[in-house]
Amino acid sequence: MLQSLEKIMKRKFLQKILAVLIVFMWFFSGWPVIWKTPRFPPKIKEAQAAITFINDARLPVTNNQNITATNAAITPPSSMAAGDFILVYVAIRATGVTITNSNTGGQSWTAGIDSEGNSVSYRSFYAVYNGNWSANPAWSWGSTPYPYILWMLVFRGVNQSSPIDAAENIANFASPTNPYDVTIGASTITTQTNGAVVVAMWATPDNNSWALQSGGWNNPNGQAYWQSSGGSDSSVSIAYQEQAVAGGNSAVTNRQTSVGPDAGIRSIIALKPASVITVGNGAAEPSNTTIGPDGSITDLDNFTLVTNSGTDTVTGATVTLSPAGAYNNIAQVDITDTSNTAKCASVTNPASNIVTFTVCNIPVTTSETTYKIRITPKTHADMPAVPGASYATTGTVTDITYTTNKLLNDTGSATVTVDNASPGAVSGTSGTPSNQQVQLNWTNPGDGDFAGVVVLRRASSVVGDNPTEGVSYSVGNTIGSSTVACVEDSSSTSCTDTGLNNGVPYHYKIFTKDVWGNYDAGTVFTGSPFTPQLPISISITTDGTVAFGHLGIGASADSSADIQTVRVDSGPADLNIRSTNFSEGANTWTLNTTNGANQVKWEFSKDGTNWTTFAIANNLYTLDTNVPSSETRNIYFRLTMPTSTSSYNQFGSTVTIVASAP
């Protein structure tokens, strides 16, 4: 009964462990993606790895070496970097000795409590590596040679100004009983900082072998113990563990697996992780928006700052803008608090998308605080020239200047479109001059922010001026050598430029404008220049009819008895003349230079002497040129009948006099 209950409990325990493992694996799998990029788990891992074990060195040189000395110098391990934390344990197989640092090696050492008990003298030392060893550091313990063990450990990521998170706790331990475990109990020390690393040490006056019994603890480089012998033996075992959450240390059990059991002395100490500032993305970003040249300062990004311990100050920052070229439209970038109070000296006219703030004063505490990146667009005058560009700008904090470590996790921002792009050009332009005016027509572009057009006019010369971006104009305004002829809103596709001088060729150019005040490069009207003029008019002062009556086949007759007269009512005018074929219903006499079957020779003259043949129907022939107003011109007609005809019905032809400006 008791055994089956025990089995059930074991199975339930295993089930719980399995469930926890599954949840844990899922949590770190990154699937499904419920966090913004980068995913949350890697950042957690990065935060947990604040203090890392780098390397170690041990004396005697070989394990369980038969050696005695009064002092010993140790060769520091490789792979060290300035700022690394060095922890040295010295254990002497003797009592009544004082362990001291006899050669600093160029470092500044802090000594722990010189302790002894159970035939072991023990003392720890630590230093923050300054990057240069002047000599191998050495320790001494009086004038009598004793067996000894020196064990140097190197950690990285330890707070350099205050490396000890919980003071060393040293105690003797009695000879353990089977299974010869020596445990340092939970909460023997109280860690103050999340991520502190706890280091435990056991020393005995015998060359014991040791084996860690507690999970989550590590031996330096996997080395479970180190021994020396010299008539009187000794051993040291070291284990370390990161304490993710501040509080008491977790219990750690080390077992003497051979020789002994022996009483000894043990130590436990906690190393404080370097402060880490986390640049966070913030709970919410500002709203996406669009701004134009001359626009006001606008929130681009919210980010947060928080440190895992203490307080500090961010003295510089880097903001990275996107997309490429976004900086071109930006006059100033600011970092402020949520009350819009500047926290860094503004960066004006950034020269690239990497915006570096060299002067900041942003206090950072363990309380997460939100700050903002703000951008101010350039003025129209300072913006890149037409056609400019529009940038859907984003920006995040990609670096900070800070004393120790940082986690950069400002992953997103609002999108603030800074629109300096010219609107599209108009199309389908045309113009029609008339008396003292020109009517202009065009098709507007399809831009969503299209606001209207400005039309410039220049007499006798091509329009070489452009409207100034950001400036609104009225009809009649002067721009350089040009005059604003029309100002139309987005719904208009035509305008009439009035008050012009007849006979003057006027050049026109049309510029589109968007709601941000951006103009395009302009489009010259098709057909420009346009020359307004008085309307030309003419009239026939006679009856407008020439009736030849019946003419015999092949006969020829003229209208000298029925002279037609055209008058230029408003001119001057060039007079041209054309004629249709002669026709009657289904039958036609075509015009030609000679008569023939169903073909006539049809002529005109302005004096009845010099004749011009309508050789081709509807071709214009010159009657006279530059005929002044009020003058008239006679028109004579002569017809030579066809040599044969398909019809004896009456044929008719329409002669048209076309007046145009000379």
Partner: protein, 172 residues
């Protein structure tokens, strides 16, 4: 349309566009006036209805006409042209008889009459030259005339003789 023609058209369109652009299209005010000319070809035409006169067999030195007292077969010359016309008429010799102003041996007389032919006819002998049949005949107007034959006084041939009487239309 061949691709070559298309290319040519495209080229011409481009050239026209460029010329228009460079020169500046001057859309100028203009006006027009028109004159209408009309003419009709003269049609001179005449028809004779029914166009056939059969005198039958006639004795020598005798006569016969187309009046109501004769064969009652008056002929109608009609202006079917489009202008006023004058009609002329002429006769001709037959195969064996000569057209003459008076009958004689193998000489016959062929006359025409245009007014009061049934009551008091005036017969004008035909010659081989045109003589006036009618004047100022308007389009669709007509001239009704009768013919009379006087047979020769003697003949060497007693077979049927056929002749044409020609009516001519001329412009006045």
């Amino acid at each position: 349309m061949s691709s070559e023609i298309k290319r040519l058209l495209k080229f011409l369109i481009v050239i026209l566009f460029v010329l228009g652009f460079v020169a500046g299209i001057s859309v100028k005010a203009a006006d027009t006036a028109s004159v209408t000319a009309t003419v009709t070809a003269q049609n001179i035409s005449v028809t004779v209805n029914d166009g056939t006169v059969a005198y039958g067999t006639i004795s020598l030195s005798s006569s016969k006409d187309t009046t109501t007292s004769g064969t009652n077969d008056s002929q109608t010359a009609t202006n079917n042209g489009n202008v006023t016309e004058n009609f002329n008429i002429k006769g001709q010799d037959s195969a064996n008889w000569t057209l003459a102003a008076t009958a004689g041996p193998d000489q016959y007389v062929h006359s025409f009459c245009t007014s009061n032919c049934d009551s008091s006819p005036t017969w004008t002998p035909l010659t081989t030259n045109y003589q006036t049949l009618g004047t100022g005949v308007t389009p669709s107007g007509n001239v009704v005339f009768d013919l009379k034959i006087n047979t020769p006084t003697s003949t060497t041939n007693f077979t049927q003789q056929s002749v044409n009487v020609v009516v001519q239309a001329v412009a006045p």
